[in-house]
């Protein structure tokens, strides 16, 4: 298989971009990473994702696939000789998909709210984030069944969905002076996070917290005066 047969359009700080990269690493698939310049969108991106004009996009041959978790499922279905990202049992698959949707639609929405909120609103978002982590701690117990990851012995769909946010979670902790993942309240998740970040499929694509922190300042400066970011 030609190396340029698989391309990922993305940017290093984006948790969504990390997801297909982790999935391709799990499957040992070589790909070309095409980094978008911050603040502008390439012709290729606009052509490949005319609907949302967003990263990540996976380009397989000449076919573009968009939306990070849809890309992850596509990768799992195409490269069947590598380890499975989704479990085989339909109920277990449904549970993984349910929580992946929760992470994106509810939990990270609260994390983003925290970024720009002040006073009472900030406290409300913080409560939502912490409550969400309590739910995820419980989900971890049920999904992992005593094993290392939500997916069991190896990283699976929900590990990828949630784990990709760990860099930004650490940045949020630093910027807000809070501990979100806590040995007392979320012991399972604390250990899981360490294992996830150390995993071979993740290590090379997880940005360093310091770099993300620097980037978040650039992002904040650019956002000042600009309309609130839509996502």
């Amino acid at each position: 298989m030609v190396k340029n047969d698989v391309k990922v359009l993305g940017a290093w700080p984006s948790p969504y971009v990390m997801r297909p990269r982790i999935a391709l690493n799990i499957k040992s698939v070589n790909y070309e990473f095409l980094e978008e310049t911050f603040g502008s969108k390439s012709e290729l991106l606009l052509q490949s994702n005319p609907v949302h004009k967003k990263i990540p996009v996976l380009i397989h041959g000449d076919k573009p696939i968009c939306e990070s978790m849809i890309i992850v499922e596509y990768i799992d279905e195409v490269w069947t000789s590598g380890p499975s990202i989704l479990p085989s049992d339909p109920y277990d698959r449904a549970i993984q998909r349910f929580w992946a949707a929760y992470v994106d639609e509810k939990w990270f929405a609260a994390m983003k709210g925290l970024r720009s909120a002040q006073g009472e609103e900030r406290k409300a978002f913080l409560d939502q984030v912490t409550e969400g982590l309590a739910l995820l701690e419980e989900a971890f117990g049920k999904c992992s069944k005593g094993k290392a990851f939500f997916g069991g012995d190896r990283i699976g769909l929900l590990d990828i969905a949630f784990g990709s946010f760990l860099g930004w979670l650490k940045v949020t902790e630093k910027l807000n002076g809070v501990k979100l993942l806590d040995e007392a309240k979320t012991p399972g998740l604390v250990k899981w996070a360490e294992r996830f970040c150390a995993d071979a499929a993740v290590k090379s694509v997880m940005p360093e917290t310091e770099k993300l922190l620097e980037f978040s300042k650039v992002l904040a400066a650019k956002m000042k005066g600009a309309p609130p970011p839509k996502n």
Binding site: I70, E73, Y74, Y91, F98, Y102
Partner: protein, 221 residues
């Protein structure tokens, strides 16, 4: 072991109807439980503690929530009359558009039909742009799923039926034959499929409900 399939839903909800449509298409027997969403039952709260919403499918005691997650579960559990292609690219495509409908189309349609006067023009334009994507996606196919109803057709039930009802209830005009000939044809085909037809809330009842809920069609603008 006898199989038990429960569906917690609400008669007017396109989301719970999606679940029923998929089960009916596959010929799966189920017991339907109507929820009063202003007074949620202890069972619903037990089966969906995270969101406390319908629909929930309970299969042999195990609950699955979120309509699109449920549709995939149904397809993977009961393999007759598949609603997703075997081809990974086509599957990704169907999922992409289903997500697009839920994340973008729904709110745009509401704004276009129910929005305040000054926002109205803009909202109509935005909703039309989104529908145009779906019009283009249909191409010459009978259904989004090809020759048979698929996951995307079921997800698009909002456009296939609820949108027309909302337009009638509010007086708005969005899905016109002039602008969207393919989507209009598709909508007619879709609601004619017996497994779908049997699962549509009665039109007059739904119009009355929408007028009441959204306060439209009763005062002149």
């Amino acid at each position: 072991m006898a199989e038990e399939v429960l569906v917690f839903g609400a008669w007017g909800s396109p989301f719970s109807r999606r679940v029923e449509m998929a089960l009916k298409l596959k010929g799966i027997e189920y017991k339907y439980i109507e929820e009063d969403i202003t007074n949620k039952s202890p069972s619903l709260l037990k089966y969906n503690p995270v969101h406390k919403k319908i629909p929930v499918l309970v299969h042999n005691g195990k609950p699955v929530a979120e309509s699109l997650v449920i549709l995939e579960y149904i397809d993977e559990t009961w393999k007759d009359s598949p609603i997703l292609s075997k081809d990974p690219y086509e599957r990704a495509n169907a999922r992409f558009w289903a997500k697009f409908i839920d994340e973008k189309c729904l709110s745009a349609i509401f704004k276009a039909c129910l929005g305040e006067d000054k926002e109205h023009e803009k909202a109509l334009e935005e909703a039309s742009e989104l529908l145009q994507f779906l019009e283009n996606e249909l191409k010459e196919k009978r259904y989004f799923g090809g020759e048979t109803v698929g996951l995307l057709d079921i997800a698009a039930n909002i456009i296939g039926y609820w949108l027309g009802v909302l337009e009638e209830a509010s007086g708005a005009e969005l899905l016109t034959r002039e602008k969207f000939p393919k989507l209009c044809n598709w909508a007619n085909e879709f609601v004619s499929v017996s497994a779908i037809k049997e699962n549509l809330p009665p039109r007059e009842k739904l119009i009355a409900y929408m007028r009441n809920r959204f306060g439209v069609g009763t005062t002149s603008k």
